[in-house]
Amino acid sequence: MKPAPLEYLAPSTAEEAVAALARFDGNARLLAGGQSLVPLLSMRLLRPTAVIDINGIPGLDRIAAGDGVIRVGALARYSALEASATIHERVPLLARAVPFVGDRQIRNRGTLGGALCHADPAGEMPLCAVTLGARMRIVGRTGRRELDAEAFFQGPYTTALEPTEMLEAVEFPDGASTEAVVVEHARRHGDFAVVSVAATGLPVPDGSWRWIRIGLGAVSDRARYARRASEGLAGTRLQPADVDAAAARCLEEAEPASDVRASAEYRRHLVPILVERALGELARRRQ
């Protein structure tokens, strides 16, 4: 199928982009990487009046460190994240998650901001954002605001963005010495996760762990930070009992649905298995 008629705009600043959104009164869509948007246009599941291409906005793809955060522009492509030493060293979870996304071509075009705004409950980028407690920097008609990742995702493919707002950048805490793991079960390579688990934490010389955070993907209507499970692991040495308890708590936080990839029951079955796998891998990483 082919897209319905649309107008094409290529603003050169975020402000222009936001103004254009307002002008079309909610009937325009921002085009970042386009890897989810364009097929939806082609299938005519979206028929916007206009598409606002933000790829020409300078600096929107910048990756920069400072003030205890790593700030990643919304237009940073997966391939840029893959290639970035800053990301590998200081947001290692993102680096580990990116290879699970789509395929080479998708990663060459797809963007961090696009994936976050698409808010796929099985997406790796929302998973990383909630797991790391990222801050979303949003620009609107009247100025800028910030939101926690957890508040940003509001449901399946639904975010807190107003129709005239745009995600400008994402700030991840500078996790220079943390370890990170992503494990997934998928039906085929690069496919949407049936269940995904992200885990990150700081190994302390005394053998314990600090700041362990676990995230769950594809088991809820949005990416989930497993708060209770994570908080329960304060100071853990990741002994089996702690791991089991965390896995059990993660299961409590999962409310999966059935779809063509897997049933809800099987997703529930996988949650503790993958959490154990992720924490086991995390424990191995300190060696």
Partner: protein
């Protein structure tokens, strides 16, 4: 001298150069000036009454030139014929477009022709169609329930045909059997899913009042015959051209509704009309395949001799007979490569509100192999025998061939047990059991599974097909013509869709004419200028095509020798054609080039007295018998019994397709078929929602075709037993690789999980299905 120098040579493919450069010519690469592009409104419901169609607003759109409705199509055309119906089938009237009632989601209802596909799709949104959804049924079990929605007035029970094959005394054998096992198996609905979808361009040629159809098809001549019938035209007034075809796999056989639609719009508008299937249409319009439910029973005596097979199965036909019809080979090949005299096979072909079923590589054979080989393993386990030993004992021996199986077809040749032993030795089966035990002690669950197959390739004869109600013959044909430069050209109605026919046909002709394959051009896939042809399917092209080439080339070669004899003043019987020359067999220094001989033939002089000019022959070859390929797959897996996740660690296939014309191409065919076998076994399934009757995963995003990263490297080996019943001993090879995959992997998983007593009985095999089977097995204990 080697008599057939190019037979058995891995000649690089003639097709490759253009395809590698991107200068192949696929359907959508054919650009016509002033073409109209079709977009088709398809019924969004599984079953609906079409109360009203109003295309007024669509016709008013700028750029829209024509609209075609089901009412017009039904009035102006005949229903689609069925090439190979199940004998005794009730008819299901299937037109190019639905009128009054649509019976599957995706059935064409209205077509809009516009200057461009984008505009046509815009206009489609303005077509008003008033649907009244009707009750639907999307499983065979539901279709058989009393009071089930009825699809066709001609088929009150939703069963288009029910029939039984009986051999020997199955009931008595079942009563006598020391051990019997039963299983109910569900085979998934899948798609051949070529990367190029279907497509068609129709042109009305005013001067000659003829229709030209360019179509991405495997069977130009059969498509022409079916299309002419639908359009109430003479076959000779229709020309069908197949360009390069981007994969077909059985799905592109015969006429489809869109061929008819495009033709009608072309006739109405006088302009070329193009329709390119998009992928969302593809999953709702191109043939689906394989879906069936089998209730199979096997019985053996206490020593492990297979005694009897009983199968009751249901084929899910979808809403109509498609252009080809449901698979007949399922029952014909149920007995497989085993010695078996007693069988009862009861089959029903059932209607559901789904896309009509068609062929997919391994048509019917993949289905019967899966159910039989999985149950053979269970039977061996029941008897406490090793599955390899059990098979070896029951496999037909070379000295028992030819052997007529319980369904009446005759296996020609081969050494079935040798293929099994070779495959087993590749995975070190002798020591595997010990390793398996060690692994289990370490908590690792590895397993090996095997699956033996025998494969029906080609058709036995046109007479055989006639007896079973087919509307086509078993033959193939070529016109072979030399030119003045001494090169040859073959005209064949077979189209090219990846199987390497251009190369292998050239190899056969070159071998017989004393030429280099590079000197043999292939003109293919055009019904005009090629003799009547059947087409490329059923692993038949090479067998039947080689026979036709042999006959035509024989005639030409004899004439070349006579002309050369005249030129050289040597008796023709003393000459041979080889390496570009005709020469004395006993004195190669006496020779004349084939170029010179050809020149004489086309100049008309010098020629022997009474000899006609020209070097051209047309030949038809009707194979007297089918050839049966065979082989064994051995798969090795490791399974995580907690999650059900598994890894396919090794995949070994040993096969025999008789004489190999081009071993490189044979290997490629087998690898590709293996990948499709594994795809259907582990990944793919077209899922319908029972409540809404809709296909829930009709996109490439949700239909899980495996990527390179999802498949292991395959380990292939082959035997080469020339068939005694075909030209050059060739057996077909296109399909074999698909046949044994599902059973081998299923058996490997069950073997790995034998301590849990796991039995798998549905496809695809997924981590979740294994987890569920584990849960069932645990509950049983």
């Amino acid at each position: 001298m080697d008599k057939l120098p190019w037979l058995g040579a891995s000649v690089k493919r003639k097709e490759d150069d253009r395809l590698l450069r991107g200068s192949g010519r696929f359907l959508d690469d054919v650009e016509e000036t002033l073409a109209l592009h079709l977009a088709i409104a398809r019924c969004p419901y599984p079953h609906a009454r079409i109360r009203r169609v109003d295309a007024t607003r669509a016709l008013e759109c700028s750029g829209v030139e024509a609209v075609l409705t089901g009412e017009q199509v039904v009035a102006r055309t005949e229903p689609i014929t069925v090439l190979r119906p199940f004998p005794g089938s009730a008819p299901t009237v299937f037109h190019g477009m639905a009128h009054e009632v649509a019976r599957y989601e995706g059935e064409p209802v209205v077509a809009v022709a516009a200057v461009d596909r984008y505009v046509a799709e815009d206009a489609l949104e303005l077509v008003d169609i008033d649907y009244e959804p009707l009750p639907h049924v999307v499983t065979v079990e539901d279709a058989l329930r009393p009071g089930a929605p009825q699809l066709h007035a001609t088929v009150p029970s939703n069963v288009v045909v029910e029939s039984t094959v009986r051999a020997g005394e199955p009931d008595r054998r079942l009563a006598d059997a020391a051990a019997t096992v039963e299983g109910t198996f569900r085979i998934n609905r899948v798609s051949g899913a070529p990367i190029e979808t279907r497509g068609v361009i129709a042109r009305w040629v005013e001067d000659t009042s003829t229709l030209e159809l360019v179509s991405s098809t495997q069977t130009p001549h059969l498509l022409r015959a079916q299309l002419a019938h639908c359009l109430r035209m003479d076959e000779t007034d229709v020309r069908v051209i197949a360009p390069d075809v981007g994969g077909a796999f059985g799905l592109k056989i015969g006429v489809y509704p869109e061929d008819i639609i495009a033709a009608l719009v072309a006739i109405d508008t006088g302009r070329p009309v193009k329709w390119i299937e998009d992928r969302t249409e593809f999953f709702r319009g191109a043939a689906h395949a394989r879906e069936a439910v089998h209730a199979l029973t096997l019985g053996a005596d206490g020593a492990g001799t297979l005694l009897v097979l009983r199968d009751r199965y249901l084929i899910d036909l979808g809403a109509y007979h498609g252009p080809l019809g449901p698979p007949l080979l399922t029952s014909i090949m149920l007995a497989g490569p085993y010695r078996l005299h007693d069988a009862l096979i009861h089959r029903r072909v059932v209607l559901t509100n789904k896309v009509p079923m068609g062929a997919y590589r391994g048509y019917g054979q993949a289905e019967s192999n899966y159910v039989r080989e999985v149950l053979v393993d269970r039977l061996a386990r029941r008897l406490g025998q090793d599955p390899a030993d059990f098979r070896r004992k029951n496999l037909l021996r070379p000295d028992e061939l030819p052997y007529k199986n319980v369904s009446g077809v005759t296996y020609d040749s081969g050494d079935y047990a040798r293929a099994l032993d070779l495959a087993l030795s590749r995975v070190g089966y002798e020591t595997f059991r010990a390793r398996q035990k060690e692994c289990r002690q370490q908590g690792r669950h590895v397993g090996v599974g095997m699956s033996c197959y025998v494969e029906f390739t080609g058709y036995p004869s046109s007479a055989f097909l006639g007896r079973t109600g087919a509307r086509f013959g078993a033959y193939e044909s070529v016109t072979l013509r030399m030119d003045r430069a001494g090169r040859a050209a073959i005209s064949t109605g077979v189209s090219t869709f990846g199987q390497g026919t251009e190369t292998t046909f050239a190899q056969v002709a070159a071998s017989l004419l004393g030429l280099d394959p590079g000197d043999v051009a292939i003109h293919r896939g055009d019904s005009q200028g090629t003799p009547y042809s059947v087409g490329g399917f059923a692993s038949r092209t090479m067998i039947a095509g080689a026979g036709a080439i042999e006959k035509a080339a024989g005639q030409i070669r004899d004439k070349m020798l006579r002309i050369a004899g005249h030129i050289l003043d040597v008796d023709a019987t003393a000459l041979e054609a080889t390496a570009g020359v005709v020469r004395r067999r006993d004195d190669p220094s006496v020779h004349v080039s084939i170029k010179r001989v050809s020149e004489s033939a086309f100049l008309g002089h010098p020629l022997p007295p009474g000899e006609d000019p020209g070097l051209e022959a047309t030949a038809y070859f009707d194979p007297p018998s089918s050839a049966f390929g065979y082989g064994t797959v051995v798969a090795q897996v490791e399974v995580d019994p907690r999650s059900g996740e598994f890894a396919l660690q090794r995949y070994v296939l040993v096969h025999d397709c008789g004489t190999q014309v081009n071993p490189m191409i044979v290997e490629g065919q087998v690898q590709g078929a293996v990948a499709q076998g594994i795809a259907a076994a582990l990944f793919e399934e077209l899922v319908y929602d029972r409540d809404t009757g809709q296909l829930v995963n009709g996109t490439m995003v949700d239909y899980f075709m495996p990527t390179a990263a999802d498949l292991p490297a395959f380990e292939l080996d082959h035997l080469e037993t020339p068939s005694p019943v075909t030209p050059f001993g060739i057996k077909g090879v296109g399909e074999g690789g698909t046949i044994a995959a599902a059973a081998a992997i299923t058996n490997a998983v069950c073997d790995a999980l034998a301590p849990f007593g796991v039995e798998l009985d549905r496809l695809p095999v997924t981590a979740e299905s294994i987890w569920r089977a584990l849960a069932r097995a645990r509950a049983k204990r």
